[in-house]
């Protein structure tokens, strides 16, 4: 049903997560497949002892944001504000010109769970009339986006969406809708989550297989390609937004693949060019019986390298890291040091070598939720970002 849309590009990145607190550190960790170090955390809850593992991040400080503001924010809001701020810095956008119109869309699976936990503890341990008013208004899911809007003095649409382990993907699609509907000329889109002690109650507490949780925030600046060209800014990638769908059986998979192909044909600038790499993210349970048939139907016998999902999500919006990882592959033209599969003649096998992969121009990112909902994005490399001079190109090395 989609008509051809205006082209959307990514022109800024800001990341704070266990795999890296700057883009360059993250790129290095992702491409070298270096896992963050987890630490065990002991808690005593409701009379019982629990232990779980945490991928944490070091304390954050951002000189660009007033320290008085940073002090008022809880962990999630602080990560969001700092990563979004760094994203704007990275983009080179003179955002003071966009204060009335810039969109902010944040995806979060858990929201301000930390505050909710504290509030519930107060309500049960103290009394129903003794809970903290400050804690209450920071407990809403949209508190981080609200803090970000206040910090940036941004008066455009400031939205928060939550859709389990596809919260980031949901935010990304909504960000694109804000651009396509011309509600906003640029949109800051991100995914962020933090962990909380209560989650351990449903996790395996066996010390040999500790459940691992993490925190992190990852933001991207989306804008129309035309606007990026006008302000002569480097572009990380062009993003083609493909329809999202929940599929339950082979017939639906086939129909969905047809829609994806039609959409790719309408939206992609490189129609007819191969998809070089397919990156799977999200929940790995349906990989073999749904994702592989889907990708075979989309590729129609054409060859492609595949990166399968490898680890369970340690937080709902961890998929934002895979999205950024795909940008790392496009920018650095390097495949991560992990298991790669090769689909050729409809046969799937381990990729012995990457000799057919001379350049990586197009990556199809497939995210699947535990509900069987697919979100697909095509990332296309437009030009070599490093060849274009920008005052912000070296910023990430700071």
């Amino acid at each position: 049903m989609n008509n051809r849309k205006a082209s959307t590009v990514i022109t800024g990145i800001g990341i704070i997560c266990p795999s890296g607190v700057t883009k360059d550190i993250f790129y290095h960790s992702y491409l070298s497949n270096t896992n963050p170090v987890s630490t065990p955390k002991n808690i005593h809850l409701f009379g019982k002892d629990y232990i779980y593992a945490v991928y944490d991040i070091p304390p954050i400080e951002e000189p660009g944001i007033p320290s008085s503001l940073q002090r008022r924010m809880r962990s999630l809001s602080l990560m969001v504000v700092v990563s979004a701020w760094r994203c704007l810095q990275d983009s080179g956008l003179e955002y003071s010109k966009y204060l009335e119109t810039m969109g902010i869309v944040m995806g979060t699976g858990w929201g301000e769970i930390d505050s909710i936990h504290s509030l519930l503890m107060q309500a049960t341990e103290k009394s129903d009339i003794l809970i903290s008013p400050t804690l209450f208004h920071t407990s809403v899911h949209n508190a981080p986006a609200g803090h970000l809007g206040i910090a940036l003095e941004s008066k455009g649409p400031t939205l928060t969406v939550t859709q389990g382990d596809q919260s980031f993907e949901s935010a990304l699609s909504l960000g694109n809708l804000l651009l396509q509907s011309e509600q906003c000329p640029v949109v800051l889109v991100g995914g962020a989550d933090t962990f909380f002690d209560l989650s351990v109650l449903e996790k395996n507490t066996n010390k040999d297989t500790l459940s691992t949780v993490s925190k992190g925030s990852c933001f991207f600046l989306l804008e129309p390609e035309k606007s990026a060209i006008e302000r002569n800014t480097p572009v990380y990638a062009r993003t083609v937004f493909l329809p999202s769908r929940t599929t339950q059986n082979q017939e639906q998979i086939h129909e969905y693949a047809c829609d994806i192909k039609a959409s790719l044909s309408e939206q992609s600038s490189g129609t007819g060019e191969p998809i070089d790499l397919v990156v799977f993210t999200g929940v790995p349970t349906s990989f073999w019986h749904i994702e592989i048939p889907l990708i075979k139907a989309i590729l129609e016998g054409k060859s492609a390298y595949l990166i399968p999902p490898d680890t369970p999500l340690s937080r709902p919006t961890q998929t934002a890291e895979d999205f950024l990882g795909s940008l790392a592959i496009l920018e650095k033209q390097k495949i991560p040091d992990k298991k790669i599969l090769y689909l050729t003649n409809n046969e799937l096998k381990d990729a012995d070598s990457l000799e057919d992969l001379k350049t990586i121009k197009r990556i199809l990112l497939i995210s699947v939720s535990s509900q069987g909902t697919h979100s697909l994005f095509l990332l296309e490399k437009l030009r070599n970002r490093n060849e274009i001079s920008s005052p912000f190109n070296d910023k990430d090395n700071d």
């Binding site: 049903m1 129903d128 208004h137 609200g146 803090h147 859709q163």
Partner: protein, 397 residues
């Protein structure tokens, strides 16, 4: 560039303390019946009245109260839209909902069980994963298209409707189930109490003696559809949604901008989107919580937008009937506004006798206003300085 499709409302559903169907609510509004009373679904030492929905939420232990609220309204909306009777009803249909408490009530129950050392019957994480409402509803009705759950505090369901409007205009789908639901819970009851903005009696928005808000719960659902799609299948058209506007205050997490700039901006964008002038608005369903700050600031914003045109549209606050239903309030107010367009009746703001001079608007009082209503504006404002306005019109081909 091809013209963007018009978007129409082809189904409505509602659950609230003044009725569990569109017609029941319409009747309650006509006889000025509020549904405010003591809270019964949890114990508390406080006495603030609430608008508690009369609905059986006990038939399935795995579901949350919000599931029952949302599902009831969605069923009514789908039935009224005629979509359930179609041969291939779910092709290219999506769902956008808004909520801010989700399964918090059940989460609290779990918490209390655990604290007492009792076995916990309910999942800890599921109640907090708000998207589960969208997932479960989509799964029940086999909706495979776009799913989106907004959590922007009190403007959540209005943002869901705004998103659905744009998704249809951008031809991402033919139709969307849009709206929201929220259930009463301790967290919001205690939380608003801690902010000292809850009234100990029934609320009186815009009154000089107003003491704050009452909380409520419920669900409001609209079926939005492109006009072509609706006409092709011969659907009844309740109204047209002509424009939406969203803005942020960038001022404070819980207090509104005292000059009402964000609220003004949201209304202005919605009118521009609908290509209509302020003087064409007949009726504004205000956010009208009954708190000192909100009512005063909303008045300033309305005056700034409409006084320039020497135009005073009728205003009321539906919250005087059913309390502030938080994330679902925008959708519930939208359903009530559509009822006003259908019946040419603007219900009065209940108990409003002494109008605050700082809230000098054209209030619907006493037994309400019977007048031809062509265009209605629905306001929703939330924590984080979130403002969303929606414009509904009588449908004319």
């Amino acid at each position: 560039m091809s013209q963007k499709p018009r978007v129409v409302v082809t189904g409505v559903g509602i659950v609230s303390c003044i009725g569990n169907t569109y017609l029941d609510v319409q009747k309650s509004l006509h006889v000025c019946k509020d549904g405010l009373g003591p809270v019964t679904i949890f114990s508390t030492s406080a006495i603030h009245p609430v608008g508690e929905a009369q609905i059986d939420a006990s038939s399935d232990e795995r579901k949350f109260r919000i599931h029952f609220l949302a599902d009831h309204a969605i069923q009514e909306a789908l039935l009224s839209s005629g979509l359930l009777a179609g041969s291939n009803p779910w092709q290219n249909i999506g769902i956008a909902l808004g909520t801010c408490t989700s399964g918090m009530l059940e989460m609290e129950e779990s918490f209390f069980h655990l604290r007492k050392g009792e076995e916990n019957k309910v999942s800890i994480s599921k109640p907090l994963s708000m998207g589960v409402i969208c997932d479960d509803i989509a799964s029940k009705y086999n909706i495979s298209g776009r799913k989106m759950l907004f959590s922007t505090a009190c403007s959540s369901s209005s943002n869901a409707i705004a998103c659905a409007f744009h998704a249809i205009r951008e031809k991402e789908c033919n139709a969307m189930i849009a709206g929201g639901a929220d259930a009463l819970c301790r967290l919001t009851y205690y939380g608003f109490q801690s902010l000292k903005i809850m009234a100990e009696n029934k609320c009186t928005p815009f009154s000089s003696t107003r003491k704050g808000m009452n909380l409520g719960e419920g669900s409001g659902i609209l079926i939005l559809e492109s006009l072509d799609h609706a006409l092709k299948r011969g659907a009844k058209i309740y109204a047209e949604i002509a424009g939406v506007g969203t803005s942020a205050d960038a001022y404070h997490m819980s207090a509104p901008d005292p000059m009402g700039r964000g609220a003004y901006q949201a209304m202005k964008i919605a009118l521009d989107c609908a290509s209509i002038l302020p003087k064409e608005i007949d009726y504004i369903s205000t956010h009208g919580t009954g708190t000192l700050q909100n009512d005063e600031v909303e008045t300033i914003a309305i005056q700034n937008l409409f006084d320039t045109y020497c135009h005073k549209p009728w205003v009321n606050s539906i919250k005087s009937y059913l309390g502030h239903t938080l994330g679902s309030s925008g959708a519930i107010a939208s359903v009530c506004a559509i009822s006003s367009l259908e019946t040419n009746f603007i219900p009065p703001t209940l108990r409003l006798e002494n109008i605050d001079p700082k809230c000098n608007l054209h209030h619907s009082l006493e037994k309400g206003v019977h007048e031809n209503i062509n265009t209605a504006l629905v306001n929703s404002f939330g924590f984080g300085g979130n403002n969303t306005s929606l414009v509904f019109k009588k449908f004319y081909e």
